[in-house]
């Protein structure tokens, strides 16, 4: 088979634009793995077409994305997968700390973790300050007693 003649027949363009008949599509897909030239012609045309599409891009009307999402939510099969997907995403992003779903466990939001850490550190600082001021207080008390004793001796 003369592959160059085959390419020149416009089969690549017909195939990519969806204008080829089922028989032509079947023949093209059968030949494609055996002829690198055909594969190159296909890649080249696809590339040119994509560049053309990028150059002539038109933004869709506002609200299209929301309407698509709403339509997807209406479809039972997709609705179920969306629900599963949301759960998957939530688990993957770590929105919540995973806890065992048994009765003796509680579920806590992930924001509790830094809150607990802050509370723990604050409690340690306060404990250290309490010990420090207690020691200082004891030391001051001793000094007062010593000064009182010294004052008593001088007075006596």
């Amino acid at each position: 088979m003369n592959i160059e003649l085959y390419i020149q027949s416009g089969i690549v363009e017909s195939y990519v634009l969806g204008l080829a008949s089922p028989a032509e599509v079947a023949e093209f897909e059968r030949l494609l793995p055996h002829f690198p030239l055909l594969k190159d012609a296909l890649s080249d045309f696809e590339y040119q077409l994509e560049l053309f599409a990028i150059d002539h891009e038109v933004p869709p009307p506002p609200g299209s994305r929301e309407r698509i999402e709403a339509r997807l939510r209406e479809t039972p099969a997709v609705r179920r997968t969306i629900h599963e997907e949301k759960r998957y995403r939530r688990e993957a992003s770590g929105d919540y700390i995973r806890v065992e779903a048994s009765s003796d466990q509680i579920k806590v939001h992930k924001y509790w973790r830094p809150a607990f850490i802050v509370i723990f550190i604050l409690s340690k600082i306060l404990l250290a300050l309490a010990i420090y001021y207690f020691v200082e207080y004891r030391h001051a008390q001793k000094q007062i007693i010593q000064l009182e004793q010294q004052g008593g001796k001088k007075g006596g």
């Binding site: 077409l49 002539h56 891009e57 698509i68 997709v78």
Partner: protein, 205 residues
């Protein structure tokens, strides 16, 4: 001071790596891989990816088939809401994701058009029955914006060529049907289409 230099150097290298990563083109092969990963998380993720990347390109493509932006917007919504179950076929296809999307979009539009014509005969969505009347007619006479998109590439082609391409591409008619209705033979229609495709290819390059 040397510590500060290290920080600046680190930030510079990091920015360079980030820029290189973001500027790496997405090839058709790795787009299929990216889409496959997205699909493994669920069809909504895959559709979101496709919408973010291709909605503008696809909308421009749909405008060739639709009479106005509102109708094209509706078609876009319809296409994306029907694409979910069809996505696995994209990986088996020999085409790139964008070209596969174009073909699927065209199929959906043509299905919708033929359904609409059967349910509401005589509406704007009806493909012309008497093709021969439009051979000498202006492009896009029926309201479709067939002056843009691929028709812009065919601007230099004779009106008859544009008509053949429009009937086959926009209305999804068969070559045999076209030959029968226009009174031309099949070889003539095939040859005209081939010339149209040649012009498109030449102007794309």
């Amino acid at each position: 001071m040397s510590y500060l230099n290290d920080i600046i150097l680190f930030n510079f290298i990091y920015c360079k790596i980030y820029l290189l990563k973001s500027l790496t083109p997405v090839t058709p092969t790795n787009m299929k891989d990216i889409l496959k990963k997205a699909l493994s998380a669920g069809p909504a993720s895959a559709l979101e990816l496709l919408y973010n990347r291709y909605s503008g390109m696809l909308f421009s493509y749909i405008l060739q088939f639709a009479p106005d932006r509102t109708m094209a917007g509706k078609q876009l919504v319809k296409i994306f809401s029907l694409l979910g179950p069809r996505l696995p076929a994209a990986f088996d296809s020999q085409l790139s994701i964008y070209c596969w999307l174009q073909i699927e979009a065209r199929k959906i539009i043509l299905e919708y058009t033929s359904k609409n014509v059967n349910e509401h005969p005589g509406t704007d969505e009806q493909p012309g029955v008497d093709g021969s009347l439009r051979v000498d007619g202006a492009p896009g006479i029926d309201g479709r914006r067939s002056g843009g998109g691929y028709f812009a590439l065919l601007a230099e082609a004779p009106p008859e060529h544009q008509w053949v391409f429009r009937e086959l591409f926009i209305y999804g008619r068969q070559k045999e049907e076209l030959a029968l209705q226009s009174g031309k033979d099949l070889a003539y229609i095939s040859c005209t289409l081939r010339e149209c495709l040649f012009i498109i290819r030449k102007n794309l390059g």
